[in-house]
Symmetry: C2
Subunit: 366 residues, 2 copies
């Protein structure tokens, strides 16, 4: 039912139409997979969470962790073709994210967006899909850096990456820091409602600062449970960004977990920078005074300030309303979640702060 949008599309091709393609499995030594810290122990499954904790984590958190938001496949190649074979477990179907935003695998070449593979309405387990990103049969070979951003809100299997038979490979550009920035939070953190996987705020920020990142945003379930905190603390991070609050039912339930969450990180990482972010604006709170949101902001400020006052010199506070405040509500799609404009603003704000905090040079992507 996409009868209206008739301007031509970059369509997925039926299987086997492209000749001269060599298929590479994923994982493969020729490609780097970033943003999925437990990839090895998960035996290459593109989950965000460790399989070993499947039964220990809240069920919803585990389920959301099967979507590889923040996962990226990177390599350099002079291939004149690039194809991908994907398997999605189901069709797209969210009311505030379309198929490109929910299921898309974005291709960036040398840091520039070039195309997206998406799940179709027919998608289900056992029905693989093939997408041709490019096919330059007769052109001179050029080495390009490939980044494939994995889906924000849908599990996926990458059955293969297709290149031409003569393609060479080399390692992608190293990140500015050897360890990733780890983001823990809500649906906003997970990437709702970016229009593409390359447009979550972390993806934009990653390009701005040449930064690796891990996305641990769990839609509706960024509640800060102790078992989740212990899991986040497993990661060898350059920085932790805590962008959760709104999924807690009350300020009281947030208060029960917020300081313990920071404590769990500090136990394993006494010196790693932590950036604690208060909720961004929503579209109704200036009219109706959202005392829950305001109370959560107050609580986060108090916890963070107390710990800083007690001597934590690597903890900082960021006001969400500086990222997306009451004067920037065009950056929201449904009154709650950022759209691409909102995520761009959030990335700009994070880039300025994290650039200083981590000693990085910022290069705007505009």
């Amino acid at each position: 039912m996409h009868r209206y949008l008739g301007l031509f599309f970059l369509l997925a091709t039926a299987f086997g139409q492209t000749s001269g393609v060599t298929w590479m499995a994923v994982p493969d030594t020729r490609v780097e997979i970033d943003g999925l810290p437990w990839l090895s122990e998960n035996r290459g499954e593109l989950f965000r969470l460790p399989l070993r904790l499947k039964d220990n984590l809240p069920k919803a958190v585990w389920s959301l962790g099967e979507s590889p938001s923040g996962g990226r496949i990177r390599f350099r190649t002079d291939s004149n073709k690039l194809l991908i074979r994907l398997e999605y477990p189901r069709a797209p179907g969210m009311r505030n994210m379309h198929a490109f935003g929910q299921t898309g695998v974005d291709l960036y070449l040398d840091g520039v967006y070039r195309g997206t593979a998406i799940a179709t309405p027919e998608a289900k387990t056992g029905v693989p899909l093939e997408h041709t990103y490019f096919d330059f049969e007769d052109r001179p070979r050029v080495e390009r850096e490939v980044t494939l951003y994995l889906p924000l809100y849908m599990p996926v299997k990458v059955l293969g990456i297709g290149v031409d038979g003569k393609a060479g490979f080399s390692v992608p550009r190293p990140f500015a820091l050897p360890k990733p920035v780890v983001f823990y939070g809500t649906s906003i953190t997970q990437g709702g409602c970016a229009s593409r996987s390359g447009l979550s705020y972390q993806a934009i920020l990653g390009r701005m600062l040449n930064l690796d990142f891990v996305n641990l945003g769990f839609s509706g379930n960024g509640k800060g449970e102790p078992e989740v905190a212990r899991m986040v603390a497993e990661i060898d991070a350059s920085c932790f960004v805590l962008d959760f609050a709104q999924n807690n039912g009350t300020v009281k339930s947030l208060a029960a977990v917020y300081e313990p969450f920071i404590g769990a990180l500090r136990e394993k990482h006494p010196q790693v920078p932590i950036l604690a972010v208060t909720p961004i604006s929503n579209a109704r709170e200036a009219l109706t005074r959202d005392s829950r949101n305001e109370g959560m902001r107050r609580h986060i400020r108090q916890v963070v300030s107390r710990r800083i006052a007690q001597g934590d010199t690597n903890l900082q506070l960021m006001e969400g309303t500086d990222l997306l405040g009451p004067d920037r509500l065009d950056g929201l799609v449904d009154g709650i979640h950022p759209n691409d404009l909102g995520f761009q603003w959030m990335a700009e704000g994070f880039a300025a702060r994290l650039g200083k905090l981590l000693g990085l040079a910022s290069a705007s992507n505009r």
Copy 2:
């Protein structure tokens, strides 16, 4: 199937749950409807095109014209409640626009986004839907300017607007110019793929310059046919913006209509400013050299330059790649259509040019 996005939503309420509501029909003398030039002769139906031409226009153009993209309902009120009753003919279902973008009716209060009513998966003719934008039972009355942006990609009937029984009404702020700017074009013009009706480039631009506008973008069908040109020329406009090209199959088919289109406008409007826009970038053309797109740009430049050279002092050219060029591909969702970031950039570019062309002061909405 929106199981993942659990952060709370502003839900449509079931019928009759809100007490003390007075329902107002649309049209009504208390509200202004903008952006639908043939509203009166269409007896209040929210179509973009004149019913009288239904059989003369290309069938697809007429069908797309039933979606009221660019239509706005405006009034000032001190009501403490605001509700809307809508009827959509079908459920949302596009792959590059979600329900908010395709079907949403956005509420802006005093120029600021506050919420959206959308079609549900159950939507069909005869199944009305009620949405509460706000309900401040006990708060002091405040007069606010209401703007409701009608859907970009779905027909809709507004069955009623609900206010409290004591609500007063006054006329909305007049626009900076008494006549609208008329945009003719493709799906990009129609609003694909904004995440909300308030985020088409014309909607953003309208807020930036306090400008009325008419959206005559026809997805896949912005082909510049002579009968469409004659229809566009019926409108008493402050300016015409021609943003079409890509829906023509070839440069040759574009050439057959482009100069005649301008001619049809000039016949009725010898002095009204016309801004001719060349295609914006797409994500593949820098890699693959899109000779069709480049040829179209060249053709438009030639036609416009010839007419300017021949003495048309109210015709201007705008390069689409200055609005959204090869360095801004994060402003695209599917390689072709702008997302909210792209539309913000386009609006900024149009605001700068149209502000000068029409002698208006620009107020950025950022």
